[in-house]
Assembly symmetry: D2
Homo-oligomer: 358 residues x 4
């Protein structure tokens, strides 16, 4: 095997701790360490005794090591020293939105370390906004690559799946988005619905950083829930297709599962994954089978995006694509097999069940 | 003045108690009484001492009068006796969904009383599904008329407003719908998002009971909130129009208000009406000004529908149209002036404010 | 009649707009005007066209009058000018917590105007923390008086009612408190429970500003709801009493209602008041009848406190007591009859109902 | 090693799937199989491909095997056949409340199989309501044993810890209880607070099934959250103790953790365990350190009970105690080491941190 890619994860919140865990599962990567400005809940939960990242060296920046050590976190040294030592090939930056840009200028650029940024940063933070389904090869050799945020990632996967049926002429998505993550301290308005940002929401332009030619429009509604986003998409396909064609395209696409009618609501899906993955991570976009409707050139469908986990595979892909290039399918397969990402169906078709029951 | 229309309201829940109150405010109607099978919260809150319907005669059906009297409700007699007495011209039936159909066959048909039904009943319950904006005149002389439910009412008003700009070619609406009313006892799933019914949701076919030719598609998402529904509509207009045209069409339409950027979320709107109307009823559809976007032939907009109150004006219209016919505008104006229903803007344009502030 | 007390309300949020409305209903007071630093939702909803305070003069402070005028608010002048003119006897300060103290020093003290403060201010803001049940007479002639906040007001009323049965030896209250008001913009944690402040919570010491000798301990738990607080109190009475004694003491006490078993949850109570009072204000503390349990010397009971409205009567009392003194009962009765505050029972006793049904 | 205890788990919901998983981790037990009447979400999530119980034989009762097989569940046979075969020593019954009693009469009694029941069953279902801290030895040789429900389990642990300081004279607990589990389909009232059951709540009498002499009183308030219960307890200790004594007693007690001030709310605790255990199970009762207050003879404290997981260790203990008897500490230690149950502190003392920071 080749020399593994040496990765540091900077920012140990919802995304960072998951990326770090995922990196640690890659045979061709090594998790050199993690860093975060404060002993946040994410640091405490993942790095203290019994946590999934227990023992991973933590690198401090502008804070006292004892602040971390007394919480049971193993401190490896000072972040700047590590970055200057040449022992890090790439940082996955999962700092809160906007801090990544500053980190790039103050840290990564200064120490000549490459970086992957998250979708909370402006697209200009990087040379490329990355989607393994559309521009895997473009990432090779890049210094800075950005992985778009959860909702954009979800849209891109569905667009990729449906594009296998022909070029999409229009994509309109309404996003019912969770107002806060489960342990978010900043809070949200109780019992309230509101638009999230302007119209169109930023997701449309974010999709176009990857697919500039796509006719896409998005609106996001903030809803008082913590578990997941639910999208309703109306897509104008290149021609008349059957519902079966559409479902098959979705079922056979990487990182998409089709959830039968037994999965009625977001908690059903997340409960399913609680019984199989740490943190209940749902890496897959879960299409609600009962929602898939095709009339003429239009397909309507609804799917669930787990904001905490959906971008993790794409982050791992990005690292691999930047350093190793190669075949996109092979790269994604490496990610998916290491993380156990699935595709296909979660429950039997209703018709089938009904038939067998009678 | 003419002899007033003698109205009974059957079913004193969320809708029924509001219709009864609204009837009592009409100069050309008289509220003969109300009825309900059980001493529900709606009965107790509206008819007991101090309630908005205090003193209105209550007619029992298959229950002991004392059950109501001991709760401070004035009992006028037995429902069947009243209906048989010829002292009721029309019943507004606001019983729970499905019971209206049974009431029609067991009561109204038997005693030869005309009736207005709610949208929870199947369209077949009545000869006409009514919208004063589209078929006011058709209601005259009808025996049974149905007023569609809150979300359909909201869509019909917006369609009416936008149709003033030309024929609509496509209407696609995603409804983020409240999962339960504020005091609903049946409950809802906490912290969950799910589709409400199939795809398309029933609202599309319900709109077509009024506008059979309309190309309309709807999807409803159930969200854990009690206050109001929020719609996101994408409409293909007959031609290219400006954002100003669209806003003007909405602002000038009856029973629609355009809420400036200061109204960010559903509670802001409902709080506004708490300071001006009993129960905080928002009879108007409230378009979020910041949501109105026009690109080419497409207009996208978002609006709030208060499920408790939005159908009240249309119920009053229906009664009037059935008995008096006449000019739709005059009929609706009678309703709106009695209830204080408004149109236009709720807050100044942001640009204007900004200009004056600087 | 005497010359009316000239009142200005400063701060038009949840409490301020209600106090202003209540002042306007008093025969012995006149609402000279209101003020608020910003055109907040409270200003907009209550003072613009159709609002309950439409036409009341608004006095600006450090802001452009046009900011209010363009929202349909009638501007009467500048706050400082008004205060300096001698046309205001007392300000009810309902500014956000902490601002009242600053207002006292910068405005009321400087212009020699008396003031009533809210419980969000430290007790030291005033000469007296006021409860009409315990120290009505002490308020006469005071310059600054403070009305404690909603939960403390609720506890004081219940303590007053139970004290009629003998001296209370211990009072322990757990407050399940709403995390945000219905239209709160600051938000709260979704799906979360947490302690609110330390243990004991500040309510215990706040109660003791009125009743220094009382053995009282409180703990507050923040819960994701907007409608009301729910208290569970365990009280050690001076001797052995029956459940009937305790319920009678509660039922016969001013500003307390006993809600029968039909009122199961906070929304049931608030829905009841939506049908009888603007904004659905519940001025009364509502004891849940089924919760009242007496074992030996201990009484356990649970009651609902509507955080938006419960302090309004006490604010009105405070103004009257400061200026007119006199008999507490007469003063409170003036408040209660003007606002329609009730006492007694909301629904019949279950046993009674059951007996009659059988 | 001895012959392992052969265990079947009947009922694969929230509790059953966790007990089954826990049984599978015991060196002295073998999970013979599981059963459930329907292919519920719990069955699907835990037993289908990738689930934590994948491959465990499923035994059907009154349902077609294909209903399970087509969902990827491996069917081992018919439940009655298995029970009649002598290959099961004990059933842990985790059926919905009330069904356990029926299962006992229809199944376990008939086939002479011993059983452990959950707290949703009446105490009379079993010969003993079990707490390993109080009556471990009494379970040996019993046919039917009942493990009390989550809140009672939490109270019993805290009582056990505090009893180490002397006999408790009074225990009063207010339970802010979650209204529904995360994926509950039955729903709950949104935005509502209500009492759960009567006063006292059933928890007090349930505690007394274990500790008949204890002076305990409980009240439960239902709150719209899914994650966990939060208790506020006020305990009269046998004498005057210091806060340090109380915290030490809690910290050193099995299955209790003391969560420092960094853990502010229920989601903080559950997020911590998501990073270390499948399903984020928190087996421990988590005392909020900042809530611990001692004044004179009274200790007040607040703690979090994870309703999904807290009873799992006690279920495992019950099986072991029934069959092996022996030393309680050794029995519990076997459970705790297999499941990774901890005790002590979750985060450093604030004072300590402050000291080091300065």
């Amino acid at each position: 095997m080749l020399v593994p890619i040496r990765v540091l994860v900077n920012g140990i919140g919802t995304i960072g701790k998951r990326v770090a865990h995922a990196v640690s599962l890659q045979p061709d990567m090594v998790l050199v360490g993690v860093s975060s400005p404060r002993p946040s809940l994410g640091v405490l939960s993942s790095l203290s005794r019994g946590g999934v990242l227990e023992g991973v060296p933590f690198y401090v920046r502008g804070a006292s090591p004892s602040l971390f050590e007394e919480r049971g976190v193993r401190v490896g040294g000072v972040l700047e020293d590590l970055l200057g030592s040449g022992r890090v090939d790439v940082v996955v930056d999962a700092a809160p939105g906007g801090e990544g840009l500053r980190n790039r200028d103050e840290l990564y650029s200064r120490y000549g370390v490459r970086a992957v940024f998250q979708g909370g940063e402006p697209a200009a933070v990087a040379e490329l906004t990355f989607s393994p389904f559309f521009n895997y090869g473009d990432a090779f050799g890049r210094r800075y690559v950005r992985v778009p945020s959860c909702n954009t990632t979800g849209i891109l996967r569905v667009v990729s799946a449906l594009s296998s049926l022909g070029e999409l002429r229009e994509v309109f998505v309404v996003i019912a988005r969770r107002a806060a993550d489960p342990a978010d301290r900043k809070g949200a308005r109780l019992n309230a619905l509101s638009l999230d940002g302007g119209v169109p929401s930023h997701h449309a332009s974010d999709v176009r950083t990857v697919l500039p030619w796509l006719n896409v429009f998005t609106v996001a509604v903030k809803v008082p829930t913590t578990l997941a986003h639910l999208h309703v998409a109306r897509v104008r396909l290149g021609g008349r297709l059957s519902r079966g064609d559409v479902i098959e395209a979705l079922e056979s696409h990487r990182r998409i599962v089709v959830a039968g009618g037994e999965f009625e609501a977001t908690p059903d899906l997340l409960e399913f994954f609680r019984d199989r993955r740490l943190r209940g991570d749902m890496y897959e976009v879960a299409v609600l089978e009962d929602s898939v409707h095709v009339d003429g050139e239009y397909a309507t469908l609804s799917y669930v995006v787990h904001q905490e986990a959906v971008v993790i595979p794409e982050n791992i892909d990005a690292v691999r694509a930047m350093f190793l290039g190669g075949d996109p399918e092979a790269g994604m397969e490496a990610t998916d097999s290491s993380l156990g990402v699935t595709r296909g169906r979660l429950a039997p078709r209703r018709a089938l069940v009904a038939a067998r029951q009678s």
